[in-house]
């Protein structure tokens, strides 16, 4: 738009009134009408009173927009004052426009006090020049940014394809391992069941339950058994471990203790199969999440489960979260309109940021709390970490792309951090609120349940 300072200046107001105030030089230009063709003879200077005018230049046969002008802006400055009298662009009314004009023959008013026509219009001309120059440099900057974004997007999609391929390969291998270990355990179970029912009972318990006591409990029970039964420590420990998945009576049976070595082996074998299946399931879960993020579609629809998306994000970040005490209180929520991959991206970026901040600051006993709440038309997810907090003067900046306080540039290529979160939440008409003091930083994300709700 026209420089507002100039619009408000007495010089411009005078010009507008003196030269463009006459009703007989006013006219209306209908939407879509062409005011000037490129190269057409022009001896008029137009002022837009209302509406929008767009100038196109034909470059390689294609019309390219080169300016866009609104109220208080001039059309034809170049051909009028530049003495070329030819329009360098095709000028079209984008909306219905109310216009005023002067002609080459229009005499200067009050020449004695204000100088010649060109002298009187000087500020207007200079202003128009500057406005156009600024406009073209802004356009150049915007182009540069777009190019950067494109490059980034290309990188992301390459990474996405790579990880999707990787995920597929891993999934196959894990699948084979999981299935084959299941076959073997079924085979062993059948044989044992047929020939050694006693051993089968131990095997089955190990397989179904795994070792349920933690190391501290095992140590306590080991001592207890060793003292009560007057047996050596190794034997007591084996009993203690088995007692974690079986009732004491069947473990502490006289016959069992007498033949401990032989039955314990089968219990342990069961536990081994149990662990293999746990590990395979864990790996499958991670692979699934990577696949969703890497090659996922970004189409939005109804029925997206927010809790699911949080859980997937957590499983993706398992290695980041290993050193973190996690307290996830995920209450049941209605499904929302959206896209699972995008939601996962939101949580992954916030949670990863929290983990990184706590790791970098070496936060003692780092912990992360996630809670969900149902609002009348929206769901709210709060993610709180115990990290060093975000200084107030940085709180606005952290959502900008390419802003980072991270010292190590190595990032897991899941996104561009919080700027992505901001963009995504915004596109959902949601809201993100940051509250941060040292030791407690909370990101609250509110997402509307239905498509057109939110941000009210």
């Amino acid at each position: 738009m026209f420089d507002s300072e100039l619009v408000d200046s007495p010089a411009y107001q005078r010009i507008k009134q003196v030269y463009f105030g006459r009703a007989d030089r006013h006219f209306t230009l209908k939407k879509g009408k062409t005011l000037l063709e490129q190269g057409e003879f022009n001896d008029k200077l137009y002022l837009i009173l209302e509406g929008t005018i767009v100038g196109y230049q034909s470059i390689d046969g294609e019309p390219v927009e080169i300016f866009r002008s609104g109220p208080d802006m001039f059309i034809g400055l170049q051909s009028f004052f530049g003495r070329s009298h030819r329009s360098y662009s095709k000028v079209v009314a984008e909306t219905e426009c109310s216009m005023a004009y002067i002609e080459l023959s229009t005499p200067a008013e009050d020449e004695y006090q204000y100088g010649s026509l060109i002298e009187q219009f000087n500020p207007v001309i200079v202003n128009a020049l500057i406005t156009r120059q600024l406009r073209s440099s802004h356009a150049a900057l915007e182009r540069q940014r777009t190019q950067k974004r494109l490059l980034q997007a290309e990188k992301m999609s390459t990474l996405g394809q790579l990880s999707a391929g990787l995920a597929h390969e891993l999934n196959n291998s894990i699948g084979v391992l999981a299935r084959k270990s299941e076959y073997i355990s079924e085979f062993v179970a059948d044989i044992l069941n047929e020939r050694e029912p006693k051993k089968f009972a131990f095997f089955k318990n190990g397989l179904d339950e795994g070792q349920r006591l933690n190391s501290l409990e095992v140590r306590q029970r080991t001592r207890e058994f060793a003292r009560k039964l007057n047996i050596n420590k190794e034997t007591a420990k084996l009993l203690a471990k088995m007692a974690s998945s079986m009732d004491d009576a069947s473990v502490l049976d006289k016959n069992v203790i007498k033949n401990l070595e032989s039955v314990a082996q089968f219990w342990q074998l069961g536990v081994d199969f149990h662990d293999m299946q746990v590990a395979a399931k864990h790996a499958t879960g991670i692979v699934k999440s990577v696949k969703i993020l890497g090659g996922g579609s970004f189409e939005r629809g109804e029925g997206v489960c927010v809790i699911d998306s949080i859980e997937q994000a957590l499983s993706l970040l398992k290695s980041n979260l290993r050193a973190v005490q996690l307290d996830a209180q995920l209450r049941e929520l209605p499904t929302i309109y959206g896209n699972l991959t995008e939601l996962i991206q939101i949580w992954v970026n916030i949670i990863k940021n929290a983990c990184d901040a706590m790791e970098q600051a070496a936060t003692p006993s780092p912990s992360l709390r996630i809670s969900t709440r149902l609002l009348p038309d929206a769901v709210k997810v709060k993610i709180t970490d115990t990290g060093p907090g975000i200084p107030e003067k940085l709180q606005d900046k952290i959502f900008q792309p390419n802003f980072t306080t991270k010292k190590n540039g190595l990032q897991f290529g899941l996104g561009l951090g919080l700027s992505i979160v901001m963009r995504l939440v915004d596109s959902y008409n949601g809201r993100i609120v940051l509250n941060s003091v040292p030791g407690k930083t909370t990101f609250s994300v509110t997402l509307p349940i239905r498509e057109r709700d939110g941000k009210n």
Binding site: N214, S215, V218, E234, D275, V278, S319, A323, V324, Q325
Partner: protein, 158 residues
């Protein structure tokens, strides 16, 4: 004489179980203890020390909830009661800086990456435990089968 203790630390029970199982051949001469956190390990060491038992080797994971493995090993390294105790870091996830700290501050004797090779792990344990036995001036004659002959030989005892 009480058996020398080996303590394994890993927050993932399945992994901890696998480490201990791989070390089973040493059970004849050593007592294997399992801990699921750094704090548990430190308090167990406190207990064992009070009972007058010796701790020959600590094998620890690095990334665990609560205190990290390198942190814990650093604390052990600074405690004169455990000056002869040998340390192995067994981890799948340690940054460059963690590794530097492990060597400089925790004085880690060996570094194993997950997944490990069981034979190599046992061989490393034997060699480190032999050094422990020699350093603490214990009678090594009764446990010759468990010790690393090469280390004994180099020390001039064989």
């Amino acid at each position: 004489m009480e058996k020398i203790n080996i303590i394994c630390v890993d927050d993932q029970r399945e992994v901890l179980d696998a480490v201990v199982r791989d070390l089973q051949p040493l059970e004849q001469w050593f007592n294997l203890e399992e801990c699921e956190s750094a704090d548990e390990c430190l308090s167990l060491m406190e207990e064992l020390d009070e009972e007058g038992a010796s701790i020959g080797l600590v094998i620890s994971d690095h990334v665990m909830p609560g205190r990290s493995g390198v942190d814990m090993l650093t604390e052990i390294a600074a405690d004169s009661r455990y000056r002869f105790t040998r340390k192995i870091l067994l981890t799948g996830l340690a940054s460059h800086q963690d590794t530097i700290d492990a060597i400089n501050d925790a004085g880690v004797d060996r570094y194993f990456e997950k997944t490990w090779n069981p034979e190599e792990l046992i061989a490393a344990c034997k060699s480190l435990l032999t050094q422990f036995v020699l350093d603490s001036g214990m009678d090594y004659q009764t446990m010759l089968g468990a010790l690393d002959v090469q280390v004994l030989y180099q020390s001039g005892r064989v």
